[in-house]
Symmetry: C2
Subunit: 138 residues, 2 copies
């Protein structure tokens, strides 16, 4: 097959996706990485900051700015771990869950629109392949 290289295609599509997400996240007062952190929090239960850094692939020092901002906005709380007081347990607040849910819906709709031009079978294969590639290359 003769097509442009993966790096080119992926970076172009990534740019498009980010451009479409930006207004959604702006409306919620979230930066891109803030949203990634919220998403990770919804899945894993009460992680320490170190665990959160590991699951998001974000450096622990860079995570701090995101957490500070999210905490100021009342979307997360940081609590001391009574078992090991060096740890700080991060968790979503009700407000954080609400914002996250609304962003997820908007982003889901955006993605549906973005993929709407594909043949249904191609779209399913695309999503399946993309998921497989990311899982197997961990």
């Amino acid at each position: 097959m003769d097509r442009p290289e993966l790096g080119y295609l992926l970076s172009r599509l990534m740019r498009e996706v980010m451009a479409r997400e930006k207004p959604i996240l702006d409306g919620a007062g979230l930066e891109m990485w803030d949203y990634a952190v919220l998403t990770a929090l919804a899945d894993s239960d009460a992680p320490t900051q170190a665990q959160l850094a590991a699951t998001t692939g974000r450096d622990k020092t860079r995570l701090i700015g995101n957490l500070d901002r999210l905490e100021t906005q009342g979307m997360i709380v940081r609590q001391a771990d009574s078992a090991d007081r060096r740890n700080r347990i991060v968790s979503l607040t009700a407000a954080g869950s609400r914002v996250l849910r609304s962003c997820r819906e908007a982003i889901g709709a955006m993605e549906a629109e973005l993929l709407a031009g594909l043949e249904p079978a191609d779209r399913a294969a695309f999503e399946r392949a993309l998921t497989d590639l990311v899982v197997t290359d961990r």
Copy 2:
């Protein structure tokens, strides 16, 4: 369908592709964007720097560092345009073409390996969908 968000999947896969490309480009003495510029030069014929900036999506001021480096390495030349002497026409040298071809081969092999785990039909659909999405969202 319930899968991780596109932004997450694409950024993960993009990171993986870049990690696999890096040793190839390092071996050729190329940075990521240098390679993108070489690729663009192979397709479009004798562009000015402004045209090259437009086709790569790179800002004209940021392009300059790439061109300086590539010219120092003898992979491209910049020639004055006799028709409009404000323009500088950029073109690949024989050495540049050689390096580009060898990188393309290595990257093609890397991509084949990366995609090898997919069902053949899924792989074809994935490549088709990715190409369609990038073309239609221009």
